[in-house]
């Protein structure tokens, strides 16, 4: 089983979710995060002074899929989340030992 973590732009979330659903990937968990990377933070003002907000709001989606589906999921995210500008985000992939559905106790791929 693979866990795919993608850090993407906020306003791409709906699109990514729909694209994944279209590929029959139904489960995901979303977290609000703040990212720091090459994309320059924006300037804000406070009583006439400017300062830089380094951390930019991003959204992290976590998807657990079986090995076969992983690449499709990654490709889908890549395609829909891309705008071509700095700050589009990253996808990190790791391996899970196990997965369990709390409701039923099913484990492994069954549980996804």
């Amino acid at each position: 089983m693979k866990k795919i973590e993608a850090i993407i732009r906020h306003f791409k979330l709906e699109e990514v979710k729909d694209a994944l659903a279209a590929k029959d990937i139904q489960g995901m968990t979303v977290t609000e995060v703040r990212g720091f990377g090459r994309q320059k933070g924006h300037k804000e003002q406070y009583r006439g002074a400017e300062y830089t907000v380094d951390f930019l709001p991003k959204v992290k989606i976590e998807i657990v899929v079986n090995e076969e589906t992983a690449q499709a999921a990654i490709d889908t995210i890549m395609d829909t989340a891309r705008t071509g500008n700095i700050g589009d985000g990253k996808i990190f992939v790791s391996t899970l030992t196990d997965s369990i559905r709390i409701r039923t106790g099913e484990t492994g791929e069954e549980s996804l």
């Binding site: 306003f11 300037k43 804000e44 003002q45 002074a49 400017e50």
Partner: protein, 479 residues
């Protein structure tokens, strides 16, 4: 925290500009002082009359009208700003508030400089607009009268000082363009909003106010010679129809928000919308009962019908939802209250309390249908339903005034139900006239702005939100 040489220079340039303005202002004041010296013109006449005797005001009316003026300002902010601010998405909350407070700043000065004069000055252009005789409030400012050795404040004997009337009306001049903000929220350039509001105020609002509320207006109720004297106690045509119709034009001309109808754009903070709506309710007492310009029985009746119509509006809208969608919502209740209040606005000086229930229910139902059926059918993106609420309920109210107005309240003017069909016609004419001017004016202004500075922010800015891109700020930093 940055300062640079370039900025220093800009600062200086601006400093000089400010000095110049200051000097010129002094100039104006002197001019104005001259005008007030008794010399054969309109202003002087007022002054020389006053020599005979300074007007004696009704101080109870002053007490009430001070409060009423404050209440109407409270309607703009925090009231309307919260009502609207809660309805937009989080990333645009400040932009809406900023538009409100900027209008409080700019429209106030514009009104003093020339708006008041265009609305309430002497007829020019065949009476379709006021003249320039009150520019910089010439003729209505208090002045020291050496003969009487006292300060004379122009105004109505037994009534209120004219500058109090002026400031009460000023608040209307702020809130009317502020209402329109809801139509183009979340995508209009701040600069475009400023230019549009100022020009709209002078070219659309002032003429309509002149028609309906200046003594010689062709739609003025108490002008015996008026072609179509309309009953519009507190601004159904002047405020709500003019802004509601203009809002529709804005929504159509600026276009839908990105992803409109594709993704839900729910209010980011309904608690603000609630606070705003209830502040509007409270403030509306100043708006409507203050329009009596007196603390008398008419003001009392206006106060009561205002409250009752708001209450009925809540029941109408939330009740419709309860029936149709099985759940009454707080947004429905708030929208209903506002719709009821809008609907009673023109009627508040001429209908009885039981009629107010009908007015409120009608306003609520009409606006509900406009916001849920009409808008979705026509697919325009009037972001916060300014047309649906103010336009539709405003028209409904103007018509109902023509039907339900009663001698029991006015002592004179009355409507269809008491057999006066002419009044109903007058109401229709007044609606049509203000709607036409609003449409024509808005189309021209928006076109011009679009061709020059542009109406709409860039797509990237719209995505990121106007708070950051237009104002460099964020609403909430809760982390």
């Amino acid at each position: 925290m940055i300062t640079s040489a370039r900025k220093q220079i800009r600062l200086r340039v601006m400093g000089i500009a400010l000095c110049l303005f200051t000097l010129s202002s002094f100039g104006m004041m002197n001019l104005h002082a001259d005008e007030q010296a008794p010399a054969g013109d309109a202003v002087a006449e007022v002054a020389s009359d006053a020599v005979a005797a300074a007007p004696v005001f009704n101080e109870a009316y002053i007490a009430w009208m001070l409060v009423a003026s404050a209440l109407v300002l409270m309607m703009v902010a925090p009231g309307l700003a919260l009502f609207y601010g809660g309805l937009v998405r989080k990333k645009n909350v400040l932009s809406v508030m900023m538009q409100c407070i900027s209008l409080m700043g700019i429209m106030s000065i514009v009104w003093v400089v020339c708006g008041y004069s265009l609305a309430f000055g002497e007829d020019i252009l065949g009476g379709y607009v006021g003249g320039f005789n009150h520019v910089m409030l010439a003729g209505i400012l208090p002045y020291y009268d050496a003969t009487l050795d006292t300060v004379v404040t122009p105004g109505t004997d037994g009534g209120i000082p004219t500058i109090l009337f002026m400031v009460f009306q000023l608040m209307f001049f702020i809130i009317t363009p502020a209402l329109i903000v809801g139509a183009f929220a979340e995508r209009m350039k701040f600069s475009a909003m400023v230019v549009y509001s100022v020009l709209w105020g002078l070219l659309v609002y002032c003429p309509i106010a002149h028609w309906v509320w200046s003594d010689n207006g062709w739609l003025c109720e108490w002008n015996e010679g008026a072609a179509f004297g309309a009953l519009d106690f507190a601004g159904g045509t002047v405020v709500h129809i003019s802004s509601g119709v203009s809002a529709l034009v804005c929504a159509l001309m600026i276009g839908q928000r990105k992803n409109y109808m594709k993704e839900p754009m729910p209010p980011h903070n309904l608690t603000y919308t609630f606070i705003g709506a209830t502040m509007l309710w409270v403030g509306w007492f100043g708006f409507n009962a203050g329009s009596a310009l007196a603390a008398n029985s008419l003001a009392v009746n206006a106060f009561v019908v205002t409250h009752i119509a708001a209450a009925a509006g809540v029941i109408a809208w939330a009740g419709m939802e309860w029936i149709v969608l099985k759940k009454p919502t707080i947004l429905g209740a708030c929208s209903g209250a506002v719709a009821g209040l809008v609907c009673i606005t023109p009627a508040s000086g001429s209908v009885s309390i039981p009629s107010a229930i009908i007015v409120g229910l009608a306003g609520g139902v009409a606006s509900y249908l406009a916001c849920t059926k009409l808008k979705n059918a026509l697919k325009y993106d009037d972001s916060l339903d300014v047309f649906g609420v103010h336009g539709i309920a405003g028209m409904t109210g103007a018509l109902l005034t023509g039907i339900l107005a009663t001698k029991n309240v006015t002592g004179g003017g009355h409507g269809l139900l008491e057999g006066n069909s002419q009044q109903f016609i007058n109401q229709i004419v007044s609606i049509a006239a203000s709607a036409v001017l609003a449409v024509v004016g808005s189309v021209i202004l928006l076109k011009l702005i679009d061709l020059t500075i542009g109406l709409r922010v860039e797509e990237a800015s719209e995505i990121r939100g106007l708070d950051q891109t237009e104002h460099g700020e964020e609403g909430y930093i809760f982390l």
